[in-house]
């Protein structure tokens, strides 16, 4: 069970159960739906962009703890960021869950998102962890 706790850290279970920034954003300038037909995870991202900056970001959806936590952490992290900043974080996050062993630098940059590092051991779950991220990429 010890290393299960590495995958399902308190943070993930907490964000999975109580996702932050959850709900429709009425003044969104753009929204995008993501769907994983294999497991049925759904995510809809709502963005309010102004002058290239993500001023507000919320999401709706349903799915496993990992996909919900990942979406929740994404919204927390991206508020106030620009598209190039998102892309940098996207790349680091993608590397974290698909390739593993991230440099200390990058891990620091990811902050709380590093809690999802354990996904790397479960390749079939990478899609859950990255659903919101790919959706975001398409939205921007």
């Amino acid at each position: 069970m010890s290393d299960l706790r590495e995958l399902y850290q308190e943070l993930i279970i907490d964000h999975g159960r109580h996702p932050r920034n959850f709900g429709k954003l009425n003044d969104a300038t753009c929204h995008k739906e993501g769907y994983n037909p294999l497991c049925g995870d759904k995510v809809t991202l709502y963005l309010l962009e102004k002058n290239g900056v993500v001023e507000k970001i919320q999401f709706e959806g349903s799915g496993c703890a990992i996909s919900m936590a990942s979406a929740s952490l994404l919204t927390e992290c991206l508020k106030g960021k620009t598209k190039p900043e998102f892309e940098e974080i996207f790349n680091a996050f993608h590397q974290l869950v698909t390739i593993g062993n991230l440099s200390e630098d990058l891990t620091l940059k990811l902050g709380k998102l590093a809690a999802l590092a354990g996904v790397f051991e479960y390749p079939a779950r990478v899609k859950c962890a990255t659903l919101a991220w790919h959706t975001m990429k398409e939205a921007l």
């Binding site: 069970m1 290393d3 299960l4 706790r5 995958l7 399902y8 279970i13 999975g16 159960r17 294999l38 497991c39 049925g40 995870d41 349903s62 799915g63 496993c64 703890a65 990992i66 051991e121 479960y122 779950r125 859950c128």
Partner: protein, 398 residues
């Protein structure tokens, strides 16, 4: 009585580990594991008499052809068909159903009766035709509503396409009754036997179904092989499926005539090695005997049902009175995928998801389920491990 330890030795994969734990394989409804005899049959074919069949006259080819046809004869007897002409090799159940959908002629306005518990493979091929589907509803226990079924027939009804057993609920459907009613309306019945075939004796004469489809890979045989049984008079009337070598009698530059059954429906070089190895799988099942298989799997079903019912917040979906060794469930507050991963971590392979049965997920108002399913090699001890691991999941998500 079954000597499970001996049986387990026949399946080399059961010696493997997953995430460092001994493998506990509870996903046989998805695909079964393969005994040594099946694996060896493939190797033996390629090492000793690999050759194309029905085409060449030399000894290797004659032997390969003979053994390929021997599987057909074995299956014919195993399911009690009247003739080997009624046994068509396909890629799997999915292709078998698609074959019928595309070779029988349907037209707009036709209706086909299916049920709420069908696998996508027994829905989409019919939806593609543009015909109207009429749906047999199911009860909360997961049983067909036969009364409603009878009322679905009308002058447009062309076919009943129904699963012998549900891959999610485990429900074993009363096929004999279903075909009897359909035949009173002069409507043909196709039975999706993907789940039932490996776990209970199938007698197509007794069931009196018009088509019966199943897959080798769920029945201890190799991937890439399936069977369509069809009544000869219907198969004769159907147009050919794919065009190519072997299915023809004569070909000119402008036209062709069809070979006789079953070859009419077997175009191109078939999956020779795996058809031949499927014979070993059938013989393996025979050697154990359905009586033993059913007793063992029913024991596991009852044992596991009790264990799982003891877990707080776990809800089993599918409580039909006649069930295969299949249990689907959901847990409060834990998504099926998270359960799947936690079990994976403990070396336990189960399926989590929509099980290629999205309409059924909707019927039970869940996005996904976890499913455990048993094969002849499973044990009560494995179920104990499952139960412990589910408690771990509960603790983590508490």
């Amino acid at each position: 009585m079954l000597n499970i330890e001996k049986i387990r030795k026949d399946f080399p994969i059961l010696q493997c580990t997953m995430h460092g734990k001994p493998l506990i394989y509870l996903d046989s409804s998805n695909t079964s594991q393969k005994p040594n005899g099946v694996i060896d049959a493939i190797t033996h074919y390629y090492k000793n008499y690999n050759a194309n069949i029905h085409r060449s006259i030399y000894e290797l080819s004659a032997k390969a052809t003979h053994l390929y046809e021997k599987t057909r004869t074995n299956i014919k007897e195993f399911i009690n068909a009247k003739s080997t002409q009624e046994i068509i090799f396909t890629k799997g159940t999915t292709e078998a159903i698609n074959l019928v959908a595309s070779s029988l002629s349907f037209s707009e306005g036709d209706e086909i009766i299916v049920s709420t518990m069908e696998h996508h493979s027994n829905l989409v091929p019919w939806q593609k035709l543009g015909v109207k589907l009429r749906i047999i509803p199911i009860s909360d226990k997961g049983e067909l509503d036969l009364g409603a079924y009878q009322n679905l027939f009308n002058s447009h009804t062309k076919m009943v396409a129904i699963t012998h057993a549900s891959n999610v609920l485990g429900t074993i459907n009363p096929i004999k009754e279903i075909t009897k009613i359909a035949h009173q309306h002069q409507v043909a019945v196709l039975v999706d036997g993907a789940q039932a075939f490996p776990h209970l004796p199938v007698d197509v004469e007794d069931l009196d179904c018009d088509f019966y489809a199943f897959s080798s890979h769920k029945a201890y045989g190799p991937t890439g092989v399936g069977v369509l049984y069809g009544k000869k008079d219907l198969l004769e009337k159907m147009s050919p499926y794919q065009g190519g070598g072997n299915m023809i009698e004569r070909v000119s530059l402008t036209d062709f005539t069809c070979n006789q059954l079953p070859y009419k429906f077997e175009a191109g070089t078939p999956n020779i090695a795996d058809v031949i190895a499927f014979d070993a799988a059938i013989n393996y099942i025979k050697s154990i005997g359905f009586e033993n298989i059913m007793r063992h799997e029913q024991n596991l079903l009852h044992y596991a049902t009790e264990k799982l019912n003891n877990i707080d917040g776990l809800r089993i979906i599918g409580n039909a009175s006649k069930k295969l060794g299949v249990i689907s469930f959901v847990m409060k507050e834990i998504h099926p995928h998270d359960i799947g991963t936690i079990l994976d971590h403990e070396g336990i392979a189960v399926r989590a998801g929509h099980h290629c049965a999205m309409p059924l997920m909707e019927r039970f108002k869940v996005p996904a389920m976890v499913r455990v399913s048993f094969g002849i090699y499973n044990t009560e001890k494995e179920i104990d491990h499952l139960s412990l691991a589910l408690k771990t999941a509960e603790r983590i998500f508490a």
